[in-house]
């Protein structure tokens, strides 16, 4: 114990004057060591470091362990824990109602790739401004460890049962369908995941991040391809990722020969230092080809696979007024008496 009185140091704050504690959530009820908890931590860090006001954020989710996790970060943001596989539609409605919100949709591999694949597919087509995070562990945790549709061919359950069906690669699917920022990360890769989440916040359009997140209880054993050990051995990062927020000065030059610099929608810079020669994250076809190759080589490729910061979003396409639809005044949403008179005249 200190015996001499000292002044309490001022807690560190971000650019809007909030401390990291302002981005905390409730105490997690997930298993100790669950990858999802690490993802929640990175989400807290990313929103804190980007200085996003938590009141501006919404956290829609589906059903499952992953979808419970919004309770464990950012309590000052509205959450909507909806029904199984239907987070995309709920998120879509919310963004239509108020496009000033920043939506972080949280789903799992069961919630997305099986029951929710229909809504996932159509969400990706629309380029709705939304960050879609799949906390991907290859199994249904809450129902005690059945395979999900992202489980790799030949991977084994704890009981020894082998998976006979090929996995759905949600990243390849998202790229093909129209998502404008697609990447994969690993809950254990703090630095990469944080940088990707920060870049996601800077992007306007649909961000699809598949984050491999080991299930310590049902899928972390020998024979699993979503275990901590398997990921340590097989993760192949495409790039070193660094996000320089718009509000920070750029003080480091980069070598265009080795690094791709992308200016994001909000003015931030995403710097991707290539670990592979000639990987161009703006080329859709190559991105999908590289993902398919990774499967053949038994690699878990991570990084930013595809990025298009120019595409119009769903809000642009719908030509929605700048104000939030939710709070438009009566005078805007109810046409005047003369309009009804005009219509009635046409019907006589």
């Amino acid at each position: 114990m200190a015996t001499t009185p000292t002044s309490t140091p001022m807690p560190k704050t971000n650019r809007i004057g909030l401390t990291v504690l302002d981005y905390r959530g409730g105490k997690t009820t997930l298993c100790a060591g669950c990858g999802h908890n690490a993802i929640s931590e990175r989400i807290i860090d990313a929103f804190y470091e980007m200085g996003v006001k938590p009141e501006r954020v919404i956290k829609p989710s589906g059903i499952g362990c992953s979808s419970k996790s919004p309770a464990y970060f950012m309590s000052r943001s509205h959450s909507f824990n909806a029904v199984h596989g239907r987070m995309p539609s709920v998120a879509t409605g919310a963004i239509l109602a108020n496009h000033k919100l920043l939506a972080l949709g949280v789903s799992g591999d069961g919630d997305t790739a099986s029951i929710g694949i229909g809504q996932f597919v159509h969400l990706m087509r629309r380029n709705l401004p939304l960050i879609y995070v799949i906390e991907d562990n290859g199994v249904y945790g809450l129902t005690k460890g059945q395979f999900s549709a992202t489980a790799d061919l030949g991977s084994k359950l704890k009981s020894g049962v082998s998976n006979d069906l090929p996995p759905i690669d949600t990243c390849a699917l998202a790229i093909e369908l129209g998502a404008t920022f697609v990447g994969r990360s690993f809950s254990g890769d703090k630095k990469q995941l944080l940088a990707m989440l920060k870049a996601a916040i800077a992007h306007r359009g649909t961000v699809m991040l598949d984050v491999v997140s080991p299930c310590v209880t049902f899928n972390d054993h020998e024979g699993s391809t979503k275990s901590y050990k398997y990921m340590k051995d097989h993760e192949e990062p495409l790039q070193d990722i660094n996000l320089i927020p718009a509000f920070e000065e750029i003080d480091v030059e980069y070598d265009p020969g080795t690094t791709v610099d992308v200016t994001m929608h909000d003015g931030s810079h995403l710097r991707l230092r290539k670990l592979e020669e000639d990987y161009d994250p703006t080329n859709k076809i190559n991105a999908v080809r590289r993902l398919l190759e990774a499967h053949e080589r038994n690699e878990v490729l991570t990084g930013v696979f595809y990025l298009n910061s120019q595409a119009p979003t769903f809000i642009d396409m719908l030509n929605i007024t700048d104000e939030s639809l939710a709070t438009l005044p009566d005078s805007v949403v109810r046409p005047g008496r003369e309009v009804l008179d005009e219509v009635m005249e046409q019907l006589r």
């Binding site: 509205h78 995309p88 539609s89 409605g93 639809l325 709070t327 438009l328 805007v332």
Partner: protein, 613 residues
């Protein structure tokens, strides 16, 4: 298909002596996709413009082209606009159905037919008029490929001449129908005239039916229920519309799109709305919930199969307390059923849509006017009670043309319910989302994006306490469910009250009906009085849960006939659950499930037979 299920009238010999004015039904039997809809609308409008109360009902197949379709027009001086069971005047254009159509007519009816079909040979107790359509159409329509469409206009001219419909009104109706296409209007008018001249020259009047100018439609409008609902929704301030195409609801949203593009684009060229065609009904209702949660006035429109798919989200709306409006334009189930025929078959399943103890507010419009006004009621109730409100229209109301008084501008302010603003939170410091502060079961909510650190709450379909925290505690669950029930009870005094017609003379017989059955009931009550000296009081339901008036009406009457368009007496079942046990035996069912709009005669026959008359 015989659309008259029973031939009712006595064979009263050859007519011609009688003179029947402004009281007839015309049925036009055609093939769908042949352009007959325009001809029928012109006929309907011409009669309407002459001041005679009229209704038109399209009995069509689930098909784009080539299958039989029937259109019935009823003109009635007493204002009866329900479907008339008897057909007085058949226009037989479809060779496939002509024989059966003619055979099912009652003696004395009139048939206008295509000459080569030689229908005259089938019966000697009908009045026949032959029209050589192909011969008549060729000179007025040199372009052969248009003849199929223009051909149908010829019967308009024939019928106009035979019934005395004024040609000036027919021309006016054609000009309205083909408003922007002058060439098409002229072509069609020429065809009408060819028919008119043919009738004048070769068809001496043999039947007793006449249409004569009246003044009963002055100032009135003609509109279908789906368009009325679309208009109502626009004036109710809808901002988010999500939908998946399904007959018979699609035209509601398609019309709404037209109106919104016309009247809800701001001076800056931007839309004060978002309309999204979703990938399925699950997504459509999910988007409604997302938008309602975030504060928009959100709606969707669907039919039975869509309602079934929306079931899970309906439960979420009930339990997480999220507002939204769902229009159910009911069609015949179960399953795919008869997708283009009318029904009231979704009442019971929608009232309790979803698993667990779930119940919903239903509004039931009977008229196009109510489609308009209930759009606003539905949003106000949905936001007041923070739950889905279902508007139970049907195909007959939604897709057919109805006469109506012009709609009145909604002058009541838009009510957004109990929503706490940043200012409220500054004052209160915080709030408990699911706490019954006012004793009405309705909590206060905040909208996402409210700029206050205490604004956020966790909406969820899982068990929760007053503070919207996850809870599996038995007492939390029970308290919450009891509060939801209290909220539903509160709704009884907020939903539209029934329309009650009582004569005070007798308290023996009462009728309870709802929706489009209303029009048949009005007429049946008159038949009962005139033909059986039976006074039947009448209560028309407009909503579920039932208001106190419904219980009192049942208490006041000895025998209550609940008339509805489904097999299982669905509304009667709901009433049984709600009324005092000793009153249950007073309820009797008159149910119709054939998919055709209800007619008065069927109600009268069944009620009198049950009354032992």
């Amino acid at each position: 298909m015989a659309t008259t299920d029973v031939a009712l009238r006595e064979a009263s010999g050859r007519s011609g002596q009688k003179h029947v004015v402004n009281d007839l039904s015309i049925q036009v039997a055609t093939v769908n996709g042949s352009g007959s809809q325009s001809s029928n609308t012109v006929l309907l409008r011409s009669i309407f413009q002459m001041g005679i109360p009229v209704s038109g009902k399209n009995l069509f197949p689930s098909n784009i082209a080539g299958l039989p379709t029937w259109y019935t027009i009823r003109a009635n001086k007493d204002g009866y606009i329900a479907r008339k069971k008897e057909i007085d005047f058949l226009v037989a254009m479809n060779p496939e159905t002509a024989q059966e159509d003619v055979k099912s007519l009652a003696a004395g009816a009139v048939v206008v037919y295509d000459e080569p079909l030689n229908l005259r040979a089938l019966r000697d107790d009908l009045i026949f008029y032959a029209v050589p359509y192909d011969k008549l159409v060729a000179p007025v329509c040199p372009e052969a490929k248009l003849r199929k469409l223009v051909r149908n206009m010829i019967y308009v001219g024939v019928v106009a001449k035979l019934l005395g419909i004024e040609m000036a009104e027919v021309e006016k109706a054609i000009r309205k129908q083909f408003a922007k296409k002058v060439k098409a209007a002229n072509l069609n008018l020429a065809a009408v005239e060819a028919g008119f001249h043919h009738a004048t020259a070769t068809l001496p009047k043999q039947d007793p039916y006449f249409v004569e100018r009246s003044d009963q439609t002055a100032g009135k409008i003609i509109i279908d229920g789906n368009s009325a609902a679309a208009l109502g929704s626009m004036f109710a301030g809808v901002t988010v519309v999500t939908w998946y195409p399904i007959t018979p609801s699609s035209s509601l949203v398609e019309t709404l799109i037209d109106y919104m593009k016309e009247y809800r684009i701001g001076p800056d060229g931007k839309a004060s709305f978002a309309i999204v065609q979703a990938e399925d009904e699950l997504a459509a209702i999910g988007m409604v919930l997302g938008a309602g949660w975030a504060g928009a006035r959100a709606m969707t429109a669907t039919a039975g199969p869509g309602i079934s798919l929306m079931s899970e989200f309906a439960g979420l709306s009930y339990y997480a307390e999220v507002p939204g409006v769902v229009w159910d334009i009911q069609r015949v189930g179960p399953s795919t059923g008869l997708p283009t025929r009318t029904s009231q078959g979704d009442i019971l399943s929608t009232a309790f849509l979803s698993h667990g103890d779930t119940k919903h507010i239903l509004l039931i419009p009977s008229s196009v006017e109510e489609c308009f006004t209930m759009a606003t009621d539905a949003f106000n109730l949905a936001e007041h009670f923070q739950t889905l409100v279902f508007v139970m229209s049907d195909l007959d109301l939604g897709m057919n043309n109805w006469m109506s008084d012009p709609f009145r501008y909604p002058d009541t302010p838009i009510k957004r319910g109990k929503v706490l603003s940043k200012k409220d939170l500054d004052r209160l410091g915080g709030f408990a989302r699911y706490k019954d502060v006012d004793g009405d079961g309705i909590g206060y909510r905040t909208l996402p994006g409210t700029d206050h650190p205490a604004a956020a709450y966790f909406a969820r379909g899982s068990g929760h306490n007053e503070n919207s925290q996850y809870s599996e505690r038995p007492d939390d669950f029970e308290r919450n469910m009891e509060r939801l029930n209290r909220k539903f009870e509160t709704a009884r005094s907020f939903v539209p009250r029934p329309e009650i017609i009582e004569n005070g003379k007798s308290n023996q017989v009462g009728i309870i009906a709802y929706g489009t059955s209303h029009w048949a009931i009005l007429e049946a009550r008159d038949q009962l009085r005139k033909e059986y000296n039976l006074e039947a009081d009448y209560l028309r339901l407009k909503a579920f849960p039932f208001t106190r008036d419904v219980h009192e009406f049942i208490e006041r009457h000895e025998r209550i006939y609940v008339v509805e368009q489904n097999r299982d007496a669905q509304m009667l079942s709901l009433l049984k659950l709600d009324v005092r046990a000793d009153l249950v035996t007073r309820l009797r069912s008159i149910a119709h499930i054939h998919g055709l709009p209800l007619d008065a005669r069927s109600v009268t026959d069944e009620l009198t037979s049950m009354e032992g008359k």
